[in-house]
Amino acid sequence: MAKVFIYPATSLMLSDLVARYGHTPLGSAVSIREHIQTPGFDSPPLQMTSEDPQKGLKWAAVEVPSGIRGRMSLYGPLVEEAEAAIIIDEPELSFGCMGCARTNELLCFMLREKDIPRLELRYPASREEGVTFVAQIKKFLDDLKKEDTA
C-alpha cells in the first residue's frame, strides 16, 4: 500500500479512487487533522499558529510570503512522505487567492521534481472520458502495487 499525494489536495474524487484501489491518499485533510488534534496554544479564529510560517521555511524561502509558507507547513510533510502522486492539470476547483495559486505552483513543482511515480491527467467531461480517467488511475495504482510486491 503506497502513500499517494493527490493534487488538488482537497479532491474528493482522487481521494476516493486512491482509497478504493487500496492505497492511502495524502490530502490536506490529513495534515489539518494532525494539526487540530495537537495540543498547543489557541490561535483564533482558525487553527494556524505563528509557528507554521517558520516550519514552512523548509520548503519556501524567507522572502516568500508567509501565506505560502504557512500552507507549505501543511503540504510539505505530505510531499516528503509521498511515494507517488496523482496531479490534475489546472483544476478549476483549486482556483483561489494569490497565496493559494503560488502554493499550488510550488506544490506541483515539488511533486514533479521528486523522483516518484506520477500520473498527470485532466478532469473528465463526458462518460467516455470518465472511463479513461478511472482506467488511467486504476492502472497507475495497480502498477504501484506490483512495484511494492516486486
Binding site: 488538488p8 482537497t10 479532491s11 474528493l12 474524487m13 481521494s15 476516493d16 479512487l17 482509497a19 478504493r20 491518499p25 490530502g27 490536506s28 485533510a29 490529513v30 495534515s31 489539518i32 487533522r33 494539526h35 487540530i36 488534534q37 495537537t38 495540543p39 498547543g40 496554544f41 489557541d42 490561535s43 479564529p45 482558525l46 487553527q47 492539470d89 478549476e92 476547483l93 483549486s94 491527467l121 485532466r122 478532469y123 473528465p124 467531461a125 463526458s126 462518460r127 472520458e129 470518465g130 472511463v131 479513461t132 480517467f133 478511472v134 482506467a135 488511467q136 486504476k138 492502472k139 497507475f140
Partner: protein, 151 residues
Amino acid sequence: MKPYIPEYVGTVTKYVFVDSPDTTPQDIATAAYEVAQGVMIKETCFGCQITGTPEDVGRIVDHLRKLDPYRIFVKDRGFPPGDARRCRADLGGARPGYLGHEFEMKMAPYISFGLEAVDKMTAEELEIAAGEQLPVEEPLDADILEQLMEE
C-alpha cells in the same frame, strides 16, 4: 493566548457522498446508524459524516460502499463535525467551503460510469482504455491574443 486542548484526539472523520437514483442520503445515514455501535454519525444533505476510531470508521465505510459501490464517494475531513471553527451554529451565516465538493460532484455521473465500466474490464481492456488520452485544451494562440488586445 490560551492553551488549546483538542477534542476527539485519535479519531478520523470521513465524508460519505452519494449521487445515485437508487440510494438517497437518508438511506446512507440510516445504514450508517444501523452499524454505528456508538460511532458519531452526522446526517447531511449529501450523505453523512462519520467520526470515530480509524477501525470503526473503516468498518462503517466498507458497509456503506456495498449499498451502491459505484455511486458512493468517500473522503477524509480534517475537522470533526460541530467544530466551533467551522460549524455554522457558532459562526453564523453561510459556511465557507464545499465549493470543491460541488464542483467535483458535477462529474460524479461520469466517474460512476467509468468505475462500473472499468470493473468489468479484463487486464488487456484496461490497458487499452488507460492508453487513451484525455483531451487537452488548446492554449490560446499568441496571434489571437495580440489581436484581442488591439481590439
